[in-house]
């Protein structure tokens, strides 16, 4: 590249920043496909080979990709498809049908969706005609008529595969897997699921037709690899318009990852979960703090982002309660201590609170029963306490049995952080039994 051209490529800092934001946001939020997959080479090869055999040689296959949430199942599949579709022949031939267990909640809807995506003859515009039975018969016939050599292969992708197993009689799964077992139109059924016990959900006849090929995506990442991944995720691509800025940015990312405090934060994140989504969330939060005044990610940004991600939400909620509500929670805590986790009702809580008032405090907290009831109901609305049985209408409100949904340590921690907590209330909470 000539010198002149490099000079031209300088952009004002504001544009650079918004370009950085655009690129990285697309990567983190929009789940853009990475250029190269890391750490799953064998799985990738396996899947690609399998799909190629269907697309090119007309072999019918079925496979399940199993892995926890955010382990990169969809990314793996899409990467394999991307490579597969680069071949002209395949691109022209392969038909794809995407189904999602969240959307296609029963077989009827799923069948319509299949017919629509295959644009068969009974589809006009995007309306599908015929009843469920007709549609099924039509589809099966269309699939049966084909044979290995002449008809176009079909790829069925079933996202949230475990939800399809909850359909009635598992008709759809049965038919799809049956087609894949017999010498008809070549189909590949790819299921994506996060349930490890998904095969136990299948009926026996469905299970016997499944090829039992499973691709497990269980992350065996080590911490240095994790750090490496953070770096590649934050790195700007080569095609970035301003080369000098991109170089500086990449340098700053490098130094960021070598920072001790950053490493500590990432280690903590790594210990809690290895999945990519939570990492993306963390990085996304720190990237969103980048601005013109602050053109690179500082360690402080990452620390702040991690603080936001790992804050205890219940402690946050407890922080905003009024004194009266806090007193009620302390009374409930004492009841839990004394009666060993037995459920309680409002009367008992009020009684406990009254004992405290008589013994220790002045009359400032002397509220009437209805005011206390209102506070109690507010706690119930926040789901900090929960009724033991749902038949609420039968019993009077003050005698309804409740359970506290908070941990002892949570209460004590919230008490420490509570702004201007009265000393007597604090001491009451500390005392062992009421």
């Amino acid at each position: 590249m000539s010198k002149r051209k490099v000079k031209e490529a300088h952009l004002p800092i504001g544009e650079c920043i918004s370009e950085v934001q655009r690129v990285l946001r697309e990567r983190f939020c929009h789940q853009q496909l990475p250029e190269r997959l890391e750490g799953v080479d064998s799985q990738y090869k396996h899947l690609l080979e399998l799909l190629r055999r269907t697309a090119v040689h007309g072999e019918s296959n079925s496979v399940l990709i199993v892995g926890p949430r955010g382990a990169g199942k969809t990314t793996l599949l899409n990467c394999a498809l991307r490579e597969l579709l680069e071949e002209k022949e395949v691109k022209r031939n392969l038909l794809q049908v995407y189904l999602n267990g969240l959307l296609q909640t029963d077989d009827k809807i799923a069948l319509k969706e299949i017919t629509r995506q295959l644009s068969l003859e009974n589809v006009v515009g995007d309306k599908v005609f015929g009843s469920f039975a007709e549609n099924l018969a039509f589809l099966l016939e269309a699939l049966k008529k084909g044979d290995r050599s002449s008809s176009r292969p079909v790829l069925f992708v079933l996202d949230e595969f475990d939800l399809f197993a909850h359909h009635r009689n598992q008709t759809l799964l049965y038919n799809l897997l049956d087609v894949s077992q017999s010498a008809q139109t070549p189909v590949a059924v790819v299921g994506l699921t996060c349930r490890l016990d998904v095969l136990e959900l299948l009926e026996k006849r469905v299970k016997s037709r499944f090829s039992h090929r499973q691709i497990h995506l269980l992350s065996g990442m080590t911490f240095p690899q994790y750090l490496q991944r953070v770096q590649t995720q934050l790195r700007l691509p080569d095609g970035f318009p301003d080369a000098r800025f991109s170089h500086e940015w990449n340098g700053s990312v490098q130094t960021l990852c070598e920072d001790k405090s950053v490493e500590e934060v990432l280690q903590r994140h790594f210990n809690s979960s290895k999945d990519f989504r939570s990492l993306h969330m963390l990085l996304m939060l720190s990237v969103s703090r980048v601005s013109t005044a602050n053109p690179a990610i500082r360690p402080a940004d990452l620390l702040e982002a991690s603080r936001m991600c790992s804050a205890d939400p219940k402690a946050n909620i407890l922080h905003g309660l009024s004194i009266l509500e806090l007193c009620l929670i302390i009374a409930m805590k004492h009841l839990n201590d004394i009666y060993d986790g037995e459920p309680f009702n409002l009367q008992m809580v009020h009684n406990e609170f009254k004992k405290f008032l008589q013994r220790k405090s002045h009359s400032i907290y002397n509220f009437e029963q209805p005011v206390i009831m209102k506070a109690f109901e507010h706690l119930q609305q926040l789901e900090l306490i929960r009724p033991v049985d749902a038949s609420a209408a039968k019993t009077q409100r003050e005698y309804q049995l409740m359970r506290l949904m908070l941990d002892q340590s949570q209460i004590m921690e919230a008490l420490q952080k509570y702004p201007q907590c009265p000393t007597d209330v604090k001491q009451w909470a500390m005392s062992a039994f009421g």
């Binding site: 949430r69 909640t105 809807i109």
Partner: protein, 445 residues
């Protein structure tokens, strides 16, 4: 403070205008804006915002979306009793009424996503579209698939769309059992006392000075802050009681500077308000009327709960008393209370107080019909025939919800009941028939 609300993609002038309308929420608005990013940039698929009631969640969101003119749809999950209404509202506000009319009669999520994608291909998103769900906790009670699907809507429709969920309840209570796409959680902290004071002092009365109103708010918070931190409730109370606060000023008894006298005047009034208006015992209209006729003491008008006494037939009253006694007394003490010549009961033995928790703490116990009738005959002085009318009175007490039937196993043969009235209520009833109920209650011996 307005410096916190900055973004290169928006005009500064406009952002300042937004910041002016969001007192004490600059930090949260700034964070939210930085997460949302520029209008053309991608945003996180779902954002979950939680915080207490009236902590400005929807206000901040709406101000940002409206003032910055971003395409958005606001859905209140209370209104959407079925998913069809929800889908219709989203499509209507994002794509106009043509799209909404495409929905079939009882749409599934699949239909919604299909139509969304179709519309999207006609008018692809230039700017991020936002779908705001208020009271998102109600989404849990709808279809099990709805919440996970909404959380990954961006992926499903392949459009630049962000779903924002607003709720009072923490995210932990939302998570479905097979997991879902985790949203970005943002917390809106509660207003501190100073912030509440600052916000409430903004709507001061034009005919009085701002300092006076501010000192009024100070007194109000002094009374109510320990019970209530809800900004809306406090604002309502402030508006209701201000005229009373100004009364001595208007009469010329007190000068504005004399805060102590003003405080002495208003404090008992506010304390009374806590027992009446705050609990909605007395409606705000009644409360205003009361303030007008000052000679009558406030609270002289009976509140809602004072109307609780009901006029019952003579035997119904006794039936209810008998039911109360049966519910709150242990059965083994019946002989001592209701049989005239019950033989010798040693007092020490009888008053075993080893059961520490009294029945008035644990609530009413169920009792069989026979026991109710036995106590009934014992407490009624005259001879009463067990006619059909007595039994029908029992069942009409059940329909009035003064008694509750327990266990629906058998309607005719040995039904069990529970008494569902409070002690004050039963005392009032027994006073009308000259019956001293406290003497017969085991807890008060």
């Amino acid at each position: 403070m307005a410096a916190l609300l900055q973004h290169p993609c928006y005009e500064e002038e406009r952002l300042r205008r937004v910041a002016d309308k969001l007192p004490c929420r600059e930090v949260q608005a700034g964070t939210l804006l930085s997460v949302m990013g520029g209008p053309e940039q991608h945003s996180f698929p779902s954002i979950f915002i939680y915080g207490h009631r009236a902590s400005g969640k929807s206000h901040v969101i709406h101000m940002l979306l409206r003032e910055l003119e971003l395409p958005h749809a606001t859905v209140s999950c209370v209104e959407c009793v079925s998913v069809a209404l929800l889908f219709e509202q989203v499509l209507l506000s994002l794509f106009g009424c043509d799209a909404a009319s495409l929905l079939p009669r009882s749409p599934s999520l699949s239909d919604f996503v299909r139509i969304y994608r179709q519309q999207c291909s006609h008018s692809p998103a230039v700017q991020t579209r936002y779908i705001v769900m208020e009271k998102a906790e109600l989404l849990r009670d709808m279809d099990a698939n709805l919440l996970p699907a909404l959380l990954r809507l961006q992926e499903l429709v392949q459009d630049n769309v962000t779903v924002i969920l607003l709720s009072e309840i923490v995210w932990d209570k939302f998570r479905p059992n097979t997991g879902c796409f985790e949203p970005l959680q943002l917390h809106f902290p509660d207003y501190s006392k100073g912030e509440l004071q600052q916000i409430l002092a903004q709507d001061s009365h034009p005919s009085y000075s701002a300092e006076l109103y501010s000192s009024y708010i100070n007194i109000l918070l002094g009374v109510f802050y320990s019970v209530c931190r809800d900004l809306r409730e406090l604002r309502h109370l402030a508006a209701l009681n201000f005229s009373k606060f100004c009364e001595p000023l208007e009469e010329g008894k007190v000068k504005e500077s004399d805060t102590h006298k003003l405080w002495r005047n208003i404090e008992p009034h506010l304390k009374k308000a806590m027992q009446t208006v705050y609990l909605r015992e007395v409606s705000s209209v009644q409360w205003e009327q009361l303030q007008q006729m000052e000679e009558k003491d406030t609270g002289a008008v009976r509140g809602l709960s004072a109307h609780a006494h009901v006029e019952l037939p003579y035997y119904s009253k006794f039936l209810l008393i008998a039911a109360y006694l049966a519910s709150y007394n242990p059965a083994r003490t019946d002989k001592r209370f209701f049989v005239k010549h019950h033989g010798k009961v040693r007092k020490t033995n009888f008053l075993k107080k080893h059961e520490k928790t009294s029945n008035h703490l644990l609530g009413p116990k169920p009792f069989p019909l026979d026991r109710l009738l036995a106590i009934f005959y014992s407490v009624v002085d005259s001879r009463v025939a067990p006619t059909a009318s007595i039994f029908s009175q029992i069942s009409s007490l059940v329909t009035l919800q003064l008694l509750a039937q327990v266990g629906h196993d058998d309607q005719i043969d040995a039904p069990k009941y529970k008494c569902a009235v409070s002690l004050d209520f039963i005392r009032a009833i027994s006073r009308t028939v000259n019956f001293d109920i406290v003497k017969y209650l085991y807890d008060f011996l």
